[in-house]
């Protein structure tokens, strides 16, 4: 195991740079995943900005596949951005948690 504690900040930056180079592929893969989800979660947020909506409604508003929307909704619910709202027919609506910043993990 490398012991980073004895390294200076400059050394560490250098080493991290080296590591990024080494892991070029996985870093690129992760960055692509991050960019895609960032963009699409923004779309989900946008679809909910006017009020609660169901997964098919969000899918229609965003053009995303409904299974993907549900996945984002579950993820954003887990990390405290979205909460479940009233049921509408066979579907539940989801709403943004609002301005209040939720820091408590909801679930693991």
């Amino acid at each position: 195991m490398s012991d980073t504690e004895h390294k200076t900040d400059g050394d560490k930056k250098q080493m991290l740079k080296q590591l990024r180079k080494q892991r070029k592929e996985s870093v690129a893969r992760a960055t692509a995943i991050m960019k895609k989800s960032k963009k699409e979660m923004k779309m989900v947020r946008g679809a909910l900005s006017d009020g609660p909506a169901t997964v098919p409604q969000i899918a229609e508003a965003t053009g995303l596949f409904s299974d993907q929307v549900l996945w984002y909704v579950a993820a954003m619910k887990k990390y405290g951005e979205i909460q479940e709202a009233e049921k509408d027919g066979a579907y539940f609506q989801y709403a943004l948690v609002g301005a209040r910043e939720t820091t408590e993990p909801q679930e693991g």
Partner: protein, 435 residues
């Protein structure tokens, strides 16, 4: 956190699921020093990932966490999580296990499990702990009651953006961590390596896992778990609350085409249990179980089955021939009704495949212990001590020695513990228990 190169124990337990934990606890309570080696980042095995368990409908967490906690805090038990077994051999009087500690990229001695890194990480990935239905981050705690509560970084999906390192209050993140190898020695070993579900992707007639709203039984366990991905049962294609749910029994068992000719022993009961939980969660839903024979053979199981029938769960004796994608997210099940109805089709909102049980670990080429034609570890005395393997001082417990339910697994694990203790008493008696 560097492990000493060689560490000595009385028993090495391979696999920290319910079988391994029970064997470890039973040995440790008798004063033996036990190492538990687990491939996942948390102990608990399949059981901690279940919702509730038959036939008592206790929540699985409630039964498993006490055993996990007792093992973790037992003075005679040492846990080695997130470790691979590279080899188990007998050398003279000792068993030697060569172990690789996979890098967590987080120092387990420093991590306090606060999850600040997880919140800061910008990379969302499918959370396989939740059947893939929800997300985790590239750095995360495996699940809320994981032991140990230490974050793990997925280097394959890490941007190396440095955010987790920045927010970590204890400087636990270390991007440069490398795998480490070390050796455990002991007088005995218990193989409790558990099971995996037979993969849906191998079953062409059932859509190779590509039909929306066709899921496997462990995924359904997560949908039913109170802290599951949606906190309720929804179908994964669009979040609809399903009105009609079907179980296809023997989806990966009693089926030579899948290479699994044996009965997987637990699927009837877990399907009935899930059906009961579903009828509690969704009182108006129709629940159908397509089956060949209902095998409810354990204590209280037949009564459990009869209760399920009385609750209105429909049992259809039929072999499901094919599953197709239907309209609007529905799933079409085509089956041969064995009670005279001939070939029939039925649409459901959600279909659960009761996949079979495969061994979780193949000893070959890591360990010279024999397996049977069913690929589970061979018992040399199946009638009087099913835990005895053909390797001296090495015992098998739980699903590693053939599919079995939790009740049977727990008694077998106690049995493996007593056989290991007998073996050690015979070689070097400790009639007075060690302190």
């Amino acid at each position: 956190m560097a492990e000493p190169q060689v560490q000595h124990f009385d028993t090495i337990v391979i696999g920290g699921g319910i079988a391994g934990l029970q064997s470890a606890l039973d040995l440790a309570d008798q004063g033996y020093r036990v190492a538990v080696v687990e491939k996942d980042a948390s102990i608990g095995g399949k059981m901690i990932r279940l919702s509730k368990v038959f036939p008592t409908l206790d929540c699985a967490s409630c039964i498993t966490t006490p055993k996990m906690a007792s093992a973790a805090h037992h003075e005679n038990i040492t846990l080695f999580t997130y470790c691979n077994v590279d080899g188990i051999v007998r050398m003279g009087e000792e068993i030697h296990a060569r172990i690789t500690q996979n890098p967590r990229y987080v120092d387990p001695d420093k991590c306090i499990g606060c999850r600040k890194c997880e919140y800061a990480c910008p990379v969302y990935l499918p959370d396989m702990e939740q059947g893939g239905f929800s997300a985790k981050k590239a750095i995360s705690i495996p699940f809320s009651n994981a032991i140990p509560q230490v974050a793990v970084l997925d280097a394959e999906h890490c941007m190396l953006c440095g955010q987790c390192e920045t927010v970590c209050p204890t400087d636990a993140v270390d991007y440069f961590m490398e795998p480490e190898t070390f050796t455990l020695t002991a007088r005995t070993a218990v193989l409790s390596t558990g099971f995996e579900l037979s993969p849906v992707k191998d079953k062409a007639q059932y859509g190779n896992g590509e039909i929306p709203n066709v899921i496997d039984s462990l995924q359904m366990e997560r949908l039913l778990a109170p802290h599951g991905p949606y906190n309720r049962v929804l179908r994964p294609s669009d979040g609809m609350e399903p009105d009609s749910i079907a179980y296809v029994q023997c989806a990966g068992s009693r089926d030579k085409s899948m290479g699994v000719s044996y009965c997987s022993r637990v699927c009837c009961m877990y399907a009935i249990k899930q059906a009961m939980l579903l009828s509690g969660a969704l009182p108006l839903a129709d629940i159908t179980i397509y089956y060949m024979d209902i095998r409810a053979f354990g204590k209280g199981y037949e009564q459990f089955y009869q209760n399920a029938k009385a609750m209105g769960i429909e049992f259809v004796k039929a072999k499901v021939a094919r599953i197709n994608e239907g309209d609007g997210g529905s799933v079409t099940v085509r089956y041969e009704n064995q009670d005279g109805g001939g070939i029939q089709t039925m649409d459901h909102d959600l279909v659960v495949l009761s996949m079979g049980i495969l061994p979780g670990w193949r000893p070959e080429p890591y360990c010279p212990v024999s397996t049977d034609s069913d690929r589970f570890i061979t018992s040399i005395k199946p009638k009087i001590s099913p835990v005895l393997t053909d390797m001296e001082g090495v015992f098998a417990a739980g699903a590693a020695a053939g599919p079995k339910d939790i009740v049977d697994t727990i008694s077998e694990s106690g049995s493996a513990a007593v056989e290991a203790a007998k073996y050690m008493q015979a070689s070097e008696p400790i009639l007075e228990t060690q302190p």
